[in-house]
């Protein structure tokens, strides 16, 4: 149920975001078929009825393209046709075994019939074509586009239209286990670089016609296909319209990763916080769709985007929903602790040890003081050095091949850490603090959020080193205000916490049992808030526990 004050707010938000409604209407009428023009536009080329002329034009267009395969032959030994496809993108076996053979062996009578100019090109399709996914192409630009997407184009003598046969099939990775988001229990499938495979992964999980997939083509050179997917009954139309609008305004030469799109459609581009979640797990995308969110799939990358995204999503892991809820809730709380430790621990250590020594018990204070005796740096500098070297170590480990990476971490942890302590350059307590911080930042399920925290940690550390707890609080207040200004596609970023919604708390600090998750997130899936029937909590069978008053099972 939407809050009483939410609607006017969002309306106001969109009004501010959209200076002209005209553009929006145009975008909507285009719908999913909004196709960007090819670049270069190829306006000077025309499809003619003369096969030879068409082929010559294509040879000009695809000059010096060694991967374009062209072959002429006769349909039923009568009608001359040309086949063009791109080697590697089109299924060569299919073209040779099925298409060419069928066409060559077609009866001459049919060929003669087809050669009659009065016939339409669709007749060809209907009479002889051995394939199902066939499009009629009437201009050179779209012909080229089909060709580049892996279709095989069939040009016929005497027709000024061509047939584009879907033979797309190229080498791609098999569907494997997700690398970045592996789980102990749960589906092991991950998105891959092929868009079609990815949509199929989603479709396989949502066998409903209300799963919609709109295609939009972005990037002048890359012509990347982007799919907006959503469940029509659940999605907030405002959000959907906004997604379309933001995608359509993208003018860019190329999209290589969904991160390109992410940065171009964020609400607040100057914020350090990730405002759009990404995942390589189809089950996570489907779960988001079921909550009423919109998924954005991008060709050639296994990472899908999910909008609108809330802050808490970066603390939820998909495994939370596959394990028992007690454990999940405990881990959720542990992750909140990790979030705070990753952000604040070095700063708190520096603040306590240089400003608020009275907070420590005497024994601990003495212990720390004796450890720090002779250390040449102030605590804040010491912390900065350690944090920086930790970041460097991590960076070195991440970029190197796996085997070398391990060696780096051994060198880093043992040699540098141990040597620095025994050389009296760094106090052992600081090493513990930095290590704990590092572990905590790894405990966050979202890498994007962990990166943000790593950056903010340095700022808070400097503040703590100069102003103690007051500095930490100032930093936290700025972050808090900033987080509160953030919105993701109109939805407040900190949503269930503020604006406060108690029923959404079922999935924030703890993960309530499946049978208690009766409603969709109120800010996102409010169109159909009821998620499941009430009273799903399993009970023992009636016979074993008979109750006098209850007649029904």
């Amino acid at each position: 149920m939407p809050g009483p004050y939410r609607k006017p707010l969002r309306a106001a938000f969109f009004r501010r975001q959209q200076p002209s409604g005209q553009q929006d209407r145009k975008g909507r009428s285009g719908g999913g078929k909004a196709q960007k023009m090819l670049y270069p536009t190829l306006e000077e080329y025309r499809l003619t009825a003369e096969l030879k002329l068409n082929l010559e034009q294509l040879h000009v267009i695809f000059a010096k393209c060694c991967d374009v395969v062209h072959r002429d032959f006769y349909l039923g030994q009568v009608l001359k046709v040309g086949i063009i496809y791109i080697d590697g993108l089109a299924d060569k076996k299919l073209v040779e075994d099925t298409l060419v053979r069928t066409l060559q062996q077609g009866s001459p009578q049919l060929a003669r019939e087809l050669a009659d100019r009065s016939r339409d090109v669709t007749t060809v399709m209907e009479k002889i074509m051995p394939m199902t996914d066939v499009a009629v192409v009437d201009n050179m630009a779209s012909l080229v586009k089909h060709l580049l997407e892996g279709d095989t184009v069939l040009l016929l003598e005497g027709y000024n239209k061509a047939l584009a046969l879907s033979t797309r099939s190229w080498e791609h990775r098999a569907i494997e286990e997700p690398v970045a988001e592996s789980v102990v229990r749960g589906p092991r499938e991950s998105f891959i670089e092929s868009l079609r495979a990815n949509t199929a992964l989603i479709r396989r999980r949502l066998k409903t016609p209300s799963l919609k997939m709109e295609t939009i083509c972005l990037g002048r050179y890359t012509m990347t296909n982007v799919v907006i997917t959503y469940l029509e009954d659940l999605v907030d139309p405002m959000v959907l319209r906004e997604v379309r609008r933001r995608l359509e305004r993208i003018q860019i030469d190329g999209i290589l990763e969904s991160a390109y799109i992410e940065e171009l459609i964020e609400d607040n581009p100057s914020s350090p916080f990730p405002q759009i979640d990404h995942t390589e797990r189809p089950d996570k995308v489907v779960a988001a769709l079921l909550e009423g969110r919109v998924g954005i799939l991008v060709d050639n990358t296994p990472f899908a985007l999910i909008v609108p995204t809330l802050f808490i999503q970066f603390i939820q892991s998909c495994e939370d929903y596959y394990e028992r809820y007690y454990l999940s809730s405990f881990l959720r709380l542990a992750r909140f602790a990790a979030l705070n430790i990753a952000l604040l621990l070095p700063a708190a250590y520096v603040a306590v040890s240089t400003f608020h020594q009275e907070m420590l018990p005497t024994n601990l204070l003495i212990r720390l003081a004796s450890q720090r005796e002779g250390i040449p740096f102030p605590a804040v500098i010491e912390a900065l050095i350690m944090e920086l070297s930790f970041e460097l170590l991590r960076e070195a480990g991440v970029r190197l091949p796996r085997q070398v990476g391990q060696a780096v971490s051994i060198v880093g942890a043992l040699v540098i850490g141990e040597a620095a302590v025994s050389a009296g350059l760094v106090s052992p307590a600081m090493v513990i603090v930095v290590a704990l911080t590092g572990i905590s930042s790894f405990a966050l399920p979202s890498f994007a959020m962990a990166i943000t925290l790593r950056l903010l940690r340095f700022i808070i550390l400097i503040l703590a080193g100069t102003l103690g707890f007051y500095g930490i609080m100032l930093g936290l207040l700025v972050i808090l205000v900033h987080l509160n200004t953030l919105r993701s596609f109109g939805v407040p970023y900190l949503a269930p916490v503020t604006p406060w919604n108690f029923s959404d708390f079922k999935d924030v600090l703890v993960r309530t049992p499946r049978w208690a998750m009766n409603s969709r997130p109120s800010q996102i899936g409010y169109r159909d808030p009821v998620r499941q029937g009430a009273g799903l909590k399993p009970t023992p069978p009636a016979s074993s526990n008979p109750r006098p008053g209850e007649g029904k099972s």
Partner: protein, 433 residues
Amino acid sequence: MISWFRRALPFFFLFLGTFFLAGCWSRHEIEDLAIISAVALDAAPGDRVRLSVYVIIPRAVAGGPSMGGGGGGEPARAGEVISTTGSDFIQAARRLEEMVPRRLLWSQNRVLILGEELAGRGLSYLDFFTRGRQMRLTTPVLITRGEGRKVLELPPGVELTTGTILTGILRNRTTFKIELKDLLVMWEAPGDNPVLPQVVMTPTPELESKEVKSGGDTGGQEGSQKGGEEKKPPEAVAIRGAGAFRDDRLAGWLDEEEAKGLIWLRGEVEEGVITVELPARGGDKDDGQASVIFHRAGTQVKPMIEGNRLIFNVEIGGKCELAEALMNLDPDRPEDLLAIQEAVNRAVEERVLAAVRKAQQELQADIFGLGEVLHRSKPRYWHQVQEHWNEEFSRAQIQVKINLQLTRLGMTNRTSGKSREAGGKGASQGSTR
């Protein structure tokens, strides 16, 4: 975007600059601190005061990283006593800072020890320790005969520093504990006078037996201690007895028994032991002895006015547990238990009355906070006597009624030895002395 950067850049540098500027203000590295763990306040000749602090040397306590595998050896001194004089304590503290290469950290101070002479001058010197922002209001305050500095200079015992030793003893609840804020409250309340637990320096354990014999006689105790000091320096501290104040001046000393009576009357008893002598009875050949332990006792004071006389009815009740019995005890005979109970009640009453006598006759100061009790229950009457309360207190009658009950016997019932017959004519093995 570029314009955004251009606008933000000066602010960014301003921000950075401010913080590096600010860095010099309140930051103190942890190793640059002189951690004070105990403070003694004394009077110095010529109206001056002496401030002695016990500064911990972290290296010596924790063993720095360089001392990694250093083995046993005898415990070095964990810190150093530094003392200076000044016309007030902040001046003395500044003098300290001239002598110590580090910055004084007062907030870890465990204990404040008042010297006798300074206590005689008045409590107003404590202002430095309530006004300073590093000071803890929860610091326990103790008083000692002679100079407080001497207490700090004791060699380490079980704990490394004097402050830890004293707070450890206070935690055992053998006596009462006055924190700085309690002291202030007692001082400021019109119907109360401060009392502070007394820390005494004891000689070595062999000498202690002599000291105990001279127990009640305060003069003697002091004498023996001074004697001991000449021959052999004191080696341990104990907290027993109390120093009592009239308004803000030290008025006199309470010995151990009187101090116990005082805490009974103030209702601050949390746990304790009472040992009573029991006269010989039929079947026993010599006197028995029993000790009870009590955990929680309640004290209720009810003031009454009868004509011109002010009467305080003190009722002390609670439950205790038998801890040790050096006698023939058979719980099946209720009169045994009853006898112990009676004796305990009498002992407590004696202690309380001893404290009352001391306060009314010698000190003439209400160290029990009875004035505040009167204030709370009879505000009208209180306003009449408020101005001269201490004199009024000396004239007041204090009636004590003790009602402690022996309820538990511990893990065994009968005392050990050959079991007696039910008739009570068994062997007299009760006493194991």
